[in-house]
Amino acid sequence: MSSFVSIVRDSEVPRSRPAALVLLRDVISTRGGRVGAVLVGVVLALAFLGPLVAPFSPTALVDSPFSTPTRAHLLGTDMLGRDGLSRFLWGGRTLVLTAFAATMMAYLVGIPLGAFAGVRGGVLDIGAVAFSDIMLAIPSLVFVLVLIAAVGPSLSMVAIGIAAVELPRVIRIFRAITVEVAALEFVEVARARGETTASVVFREILPNLWTPLMADFGFRLTASIVLVSSLSYLGLGQAPPAADWGLMISENQIGLTIQPWIIVVPAVTIAILTFGVNLLTDAFARRIGRSSATPRG
């Protein structure tokens, strides 16, 4: 009697590509996303491929201090007479890597903590939120400065310090999203089956945090880049004579009026990087907002 019970033929089922690829393609197809991707790509290429093409060693003395740009030294020289271009090409890698490592550490600790707090509730939740609120009350730069003053400056301390500053924000954001996801019925189904909290978090919640993560990543990374460069400007990041964009700005500032290139170029590059990351993030956020608000019916 139920002869018309639906049997959908295979060919009729619409197939779509993995969500992440589709998302990426959509983001690149917007103007903001495209410009952002190009800017970020150029700066990352400079930072990672720069050392391979640098004409001189970043620490070799090649000319008199603060010489203006010449054909041999396109960005002139710095306060010790080292080649500006070579130092610039060498100086991005640590900055980007440190910022990236700090952001990743904050996510690795913050997302599971936020997700567990959101699913579990109770003491864990209250504790996580209280910790975040206290941390958020302390100015970021002051916190990292005090931490480094206490432990001593090193690149890994900078990364840990910045991760600690980002952590409360990550916890709060991902806890809030988790609470929303946990109210959905597939989470209820999993709990009714008797799944453990860890299983609920890892199987049901975490996969749903991917999209918000992509939107949040840019903000976190930008904040980290700014903090890392501020710290190296203050002399708390890489120790001289290593080449570093932040350090280049601070060590050459007495020569600003004679040889501005050695300062302006790294400063503008950092600005371009953060600007590009923000454009890309905006494109992600807009795309995600649109897909969730797609009208039905």
Partner: protein, 604 residues
């Protein structure tokens, strides 16, 4: 019927990139007539309704056709004239009345504003409200929209639409989201208004029974095209298009319990519609040329169907049959006695269930029916252990059952499974179908390894009539009905003895609903017991042998379905049943008072 007041010809609405949403829609509406425009979700009925006012939704454009209102094409009018035409000659009532009313303005103020915009005196407010059976005293006029019930808000929206004596009122699903009894009162009102004001109504709805009770003429839409149009008796009594016949066979009827047939597959969305007839891939009567082109129309009397095989196909599935046989009144699988439950908010406790008792036999089906707010969902959640009741005892196969899942044993948790209303919320969007169904198999150790698991997942897909190709898909790649089948398959993976179905067909189109019900019936034959929670009383008739009627948390009636629905003894049940529009012919627009309801003006 004198004179055509609305004449639509060759209407086409496109989305960006020339994707057709609506195409080749032509129909006419006569003075004082109710024209019902029916279709399932995505059929383009709302886009058509808006086009009648010369409006296209954001991202869409009207690219061809004419819409003549009283002889003038609204699509050609300059925007200033069009603005005046809207309201004065053709008015619109949206589905969601709250969306049409400004929440910060008083009711009286809002109606006056509409009148003012068309140069009408303020004194017209009172008679207008009287016309829609609303109080018109100063106190009522000073109320804000949120101080009105859903039915009252919809009446205000209708009053505003009628304020300038338009020739045509377009109503887009005006009773969807309202309770059956409220809906019945609004329908009675609309029919009276049609007779009193002489305005023509274009009534857009997915609900065939409602349209049957209201319309003089009916247009059936499928995949953006009007596939059949004609008089109500003709379209509903002797449909020409196979889609219409199958759609009618999908609607549960209170008057005659029978097997619902449903329609295989799903309607193609805009941009994926085939050349030729869009229904051909699902049509049991399709022939080769259906895939090539569609006839302009095959006419029979006042009825036109756009099908090469019009009137050649009749749905055979609608075999009459008795109420589902009562399961051998053997031992009770689940019993509930004296259940009470409430929701707690800080400083407030709202009781939703009082002293509810029932039992479900092994392999039996108990339907819990009630209007919104009756506590039926809470009752289902208590059984599933998702809501902790305040009191009462649950037993499963004779053994007492802990009130909350966390305190139940693994096998108790396994034996009672729940399926929710909205599959978009109940399936993890980031997990493939194989994982959604496979996880319970692994969790309850039914599958020892991946190979066995995959095998069993395939069997489960087969049981809910889904193709094996679904295995590696994600929920977003599936249609609503398919997702709901996956949710059922996931519940079945736990090998339950009782399935709690919480409004599982409410968000689905009727043809899909019928197919899901057919799946449930097969499962019942395999010995699965169901607790079927629904607001759809007509649907219960064909599914459950026992029914429990809830009103505001209290049991009003409990007994065999045929008895309770056939000869209801409690006034509430009588009222509930009377409010259901039926698809029976003869219960139509011309037969006065066919929506059998005690119409109490004012409060709705």
């Amino acid at each position: 019927m004198t004179g055509v007041v609305l004449d639509v010809r060759g209407l086409r609405v496109e989305a960006a990139g020339g994707v057709e949403i609506v195409d080749e829609v032509s129909f006419a509406v006569h003075r004082g007539e109710v024209f019902g425009l029916v279709g399932e979700s995505g059929s383009g009925k709302t886009s058509t309704a808006l086009a009648l006012l010369g409006h296209a939704r954001r991202g869409t454009r009207i690219t061809a056709g004419t819409v003549e209102v009283d002889g003038r094409d609204v699509l050609m009018l300059p925007s200033r004239v069009l603005r005046h035409t809207r309201g004065a000659r053709i008015a619109y009532v949206p589905q969601d009345a709250t969306a049409g009313l400004n929440p910060r303005h008083r009711i009286g103020q809002q109606i006056e504003e509409v009148l003012g915009a068309h140069g009408k005196p303020r004194s017209a407010v009172a008679p207008l409200l009287a016309q829609v059976h609303l109080p018109n005293d100063a106190a009522f006029l000073r109320r804000y929209p949120f101080e009105l019930s859903g039915g009252q808000q919809q009446r205000v929206a209708i009053a505003m639409a009628l304020s300038c004596h338009p020739l045509i009122v377009v109503l887009d699903e005006p009773t969807t989201g309202l309770d059956a009894s409220t809906q019945a009162r609004i329908l009675t009102l609309l029919r009276d208004l049609g007779a009193d004001t002489g305005a023509a109504f274009v009534y857009v709805s997915h609900d065939l029974a409602v349209v049957n009770n209201l319309a003089h003429r009916v247009g059936v839409m499928y995949a953006g095209r009007l596939v059949e149009v004609g008089g109500r008796e003709g379209v509903f009594g002797n449909p020409g298009h196979p889609y219409t016949s199958l759609l009618l066979a999908s609607v549960p009827r209170l008057s005659e319990p029978r097997a619902l047939t449903g329609i295989s597959g799903a309607a193609p969305p805009p941009g994926h519609r085939p050349r030729g007839c869009a229904f051909a891939p699902r049509c049991p009567a399709a022939v080769a040329r259906c895939a090539e082109q569609i006839p302009l129309g095959v006419t029979k009397g006042d009825q036109t169907a756009r099908c090469w095989r019009a009137w050649e196909f009749t749905s055979s599935g609608a075999a009459a049959r008795g109420t589902p046989r009562a399961a051998a009144a053997s031992e009770a699988l689940l019993t509930a006695s004296g259940m009470s439950a409430s929701y707690r908010q800080p400083g407030r406790r709202t009781q939703v269930l009082w002293d509810v008792s029932f039992s479900v036999g092994a392999g039996g089906c108990l339907a819990i029916v009630g209007e919104s707010g009756s506590g039926k969902t809470t009752l289902g959640r208590c059984v599933a252990g998702l809501h902790r009741p305040d009191g009462g005892v649950l037993t499963l196969a004779g053994r007492p059952l802990a009130p909350h899942v966390t305190n139940r044993t693994s096998s108790e948790r396994r034996e009672i499974q729940i399926v929710f209303q909205d599959p978009d919320r109940s399936l993890n969007p980031r997990r493939p179908i194989s994982e959604a169904i496979g996880r319970p198999l692994r969790f309850f150790e039914f599958a020892q390894d991946r190979v066995a698991e995959r095998q069993q997942v395939l069997q489960l897909l087969e049981r809910v009539r889904l193709p094996a190709g679904m295995l590696d898909r994600y929920p977003r790649e599936l249609s609503g009905g398919e997702k709901q089948r996956v949710a059922i398959a996931r519940a079945l993976a736990a090998r339950p003895s009782l399935l709690v179905c919480d409004e599982i067909t409410s968000s689905l189109d009727v043809s899909i609903q019928a197919a899901i019900v057919a799946v449930l019936e097969e499962l019942r034959r395999d010995g699965l017991a169901l607790l079927f929670v629904t607001h759809n009383v007509a649907l219960v008739r064909g599914i459950a042998e026992v029914v429990l009627v809830l009103e505001r948390g209290t049991v009003r009636e409990y007994g065999e379905t045929a008895t309770v629905l056939g000869r209801p003894s409690h006034p509430y049940t009588q009222q509930l049943i009377a409010a259901i529009p039926d698809l029976r012919l003869g219960a139509g627009a011309d037969g006065a008072g066919s929506v059998r309801t005690s119409s109490t003006p004012g409060r709705s």
